[in-house]
């Protein structure tokens, strides 16, 4: 065998394990999911499987729980994404301005992000608990009224967002800080020489230069926000009155508590479509305003 032949044989051999796994666990599930979404598939009655065309999709369109879940998901995204970007920008700028100890602050801000969502949920459930919770204990000590952190519709989603901010702020701040550090110092020096002051420096120089990274964090966090599951599931189980039950939790319950796999698959594709549309719109919008 020549070296060339040996190389081609080796190339195939090296690719095979991953390629098989990719075919089995990425390609096949996508195909299965498309097929399932046009089937009536009830796990409790496996013999009742039949083709139903687009009726799962039509059902979701008419399902008030689907809309409610969508509303809860939007509620999370609308609070979380701007809240996260603004606070992370503040933290990034703050860290960038530090002469000493920047790396320590960076590591400490990021540490909560290493925690598991279950641990985060347990910890914050203790903080938020109405009777035994730490927050209400502190409020009572200060002579204030305890707050219904998780049991009131108006409070529950903001409470979930507060926990999520604590959990994910560090990672996003680090990405923004890294982008800030890439901006050449000369640009600021030139602007200062021209008499630029703090706010103008921020709005005219820093923010425009940060556009690409801001685009990246807005799009990735919106995508992640639409898929939120663990935080509301652990803190409120979707309550009170389903006001915090997001779309992924509804899919989870449809498929694995009620065993309606076809309906669950169809709703997954609808969520995928919503995410794709949002990501594309944000991308083209922010892209255009960059150039």
């Amino acid at each position: 065998m020549t070296y060339k032949q040996r190389r081609s044989a080796a190339a195939l051999l090296f690719l095979t394990p991953y390629a098989l796994s990719f075919l089995a666990f990425i390609v096949t599930p996508i195909i299965v999911s498309i097929v399932l979404s046009v089937m009536h598939y009830d796990m409790t009655a496996p013999h009742s499987v039949k083709f139903v065309g687009s009726s799962n999709y039509k059902d979701a369109w008419k399902d008030e729980y689907f809309w409610q879940a969508l509303k809860a998901t939007f509620g999370y995204v609308i609070l979380m994404v701007p809240g996260l970007i603004i606070t992370a920008l503040g933290m990034g700028l703050g860290m960038h301005g530090m002469a000493k100890g920047r790396n320590t602050v960076r590591a400490l801000l990021f540490l909560p992000g290493m925690l598991n969502v279950a641990v985060t949920g347990i910890l914050w459930q203790w903080f938020f608990n109405g009777e035994f919770g730490l927050f209400n204990f502190i409020l009572k000590r200060l002579g204030m009224n305890p707050a219904p952190w998780l049991s009131d519709k108006a409070y529950a989603m903001p409470s979930i967002v507060l926990m999520s901010l604590w959990w994910t702020l560090g990672g996003t701040s680090i990405v923004i800080l890294a982008a800030l550090q890439q901006i050449p110092k000369q640009i600021f020096e030139a602007a200062l020489l021209d008499g630029a002051k703090g706010p103008a420096l921020l709005s005219r120089i820093t923010l425009p230069l940060l556009r690409p990274v801001l685009l990246f964090v807005v799009v990735t966090n919106t995508i992640a926000g639409f898929q939120v599951f663990g935080q509301p599931f652990l803190l409120t189980r979707g309550g009170p009155e389903l006001s915090t039950r997001g779309i992924v939790q509804y899919i989870y319950e449809t498929a694995f508590n009620n065993y309606r796999l076809g309906y669950g698959a169809a709703m997954s594709w609808m969520l995928f479509a919503i995410i794709a549309v949002f990501a594309l719109v944000q991308y083209s919008f922010l892209r255009r305003s960059t150039s």
Binding site: A11, F14, F25, T28, P29, S33, M114, G230
Partner: protein, 274 residues
């Protein structure tokens, strides 16, 4: 003036870092308190230190086999990490260094597949795993996890940057393709392999939805799902659940301390390349 501002900023940022750390510090301190003191805290630091919570947890109880969950998590995360690093590096080596026909097209497909959200795989995977009789076994969490595209993508970027001259020199010395992979390419990729390994381990350790859906019996849970479900049935015993949280977090904090630089640096670079 500028100096004063700098000091104020540094002070404020240190305060923020402390504020962000305080829930974790509180969690650790409170896990050493007796239950009465947890519910009525007169100070953050325990008055009566106790390890009773930890003793109870590490004693192998039926309803909460904590040690078993810890072993499950270790076994699953370690297996996933090893397999992902081996499979991904082999595939990336085949695509970039051995130039397998159609390799670049395949890489494109792999990257495109990364855009499909994870929750979409839940229902079809459940069905497939139930056909394979893998539900409620570690295989359900290990084998499908090797298909993720991130590792192949990242390592391909890295391996492309290796100069061909190094490879040619090895070939002149009579190196086989396998020898090239093992003795030349892998050592040169060590930092990228470490980064991939850390991210894969942390991701697998923290996976919540997967084990929640695919595992059925209490003894087969991973740690996060185990403690979350345990907590929902014994939720008022905060001292106990906080102790479980501390134990579940410790391995990750050790990983973080050991590889802090690497983790933060690779986090930093994610947003810069687009």
């Amino acid at each position: 003036m500028n100096n004063v501002l700098k000091r104020v900023n540094s002070g404020f940022m240190s305060l923020m870092a402390l504020l962000f750390m305080s829930p974790i510090i509180l969690m650790i301190l409170t896990s050493f308190k007796p239950e009465a003191e947890v519910l009525n805290p007169s100070s953050a630091i325990p008055k009566h230190w106790t390890v009773a919570n930890y003793q109870y947890l590490l004693g192998w109880s039926e309803e909460a086999p904590f040690g078993r969950w810890l072993l499950n998590s270790f076994f699953i995360s370690t297996s996933v990490t090893l397999l992902v690093v081996v499979f991904s590096s082999m595939a990336a080596f085949s695509i970039t260094r051995l130039r397998v026909p159609g390799g670049n097209f395949m890489l494109g497909v792999i990257v495109a597949s990364m855009m499909v959200p994870g929750q979409l795989f839940l229902v079809p995977l459940y069905l497939m795993l139930s056909r394979l009789h893998w539900l409620d076994t570690p295989a359900a969490l290990i084998v499908p996890a090797t298909a993720g595209g991130f590792g192949v993508f990242m390592l391909s970027q890295f391996m492309r940057a290796i100069p061909e001259a190094i490879e040619e020199a090895a070939l002149i010395d009579g190196c086989t393709p396998f020898g090239l992979y093992l003795n030349v390419t892998l050592p040169l990729c060590a930092p990228a392999l470490a980064t991939l390994g850390i991210f894969t381990f942390v991701g697998s350790w923290n996976d919540f939805l997967g084990p929640l859906v695919f595992m059925d019996s209490v003894r087969n849970y991973t740690l996060p799902v185990g403690i979350a479900l345990y907590q929902s049935s014994y939720y008022t015993e905060y001292g106990l659940t906080l102790a479980t949280s501390v134990l579940a977090t410790t391995p990750l904090v050790i990983v973080f301390m050991a590889f802090q630089r690497q983790i933060v640096e690779s986090m930093s670079s994610t947003g810069l390349k687009d």
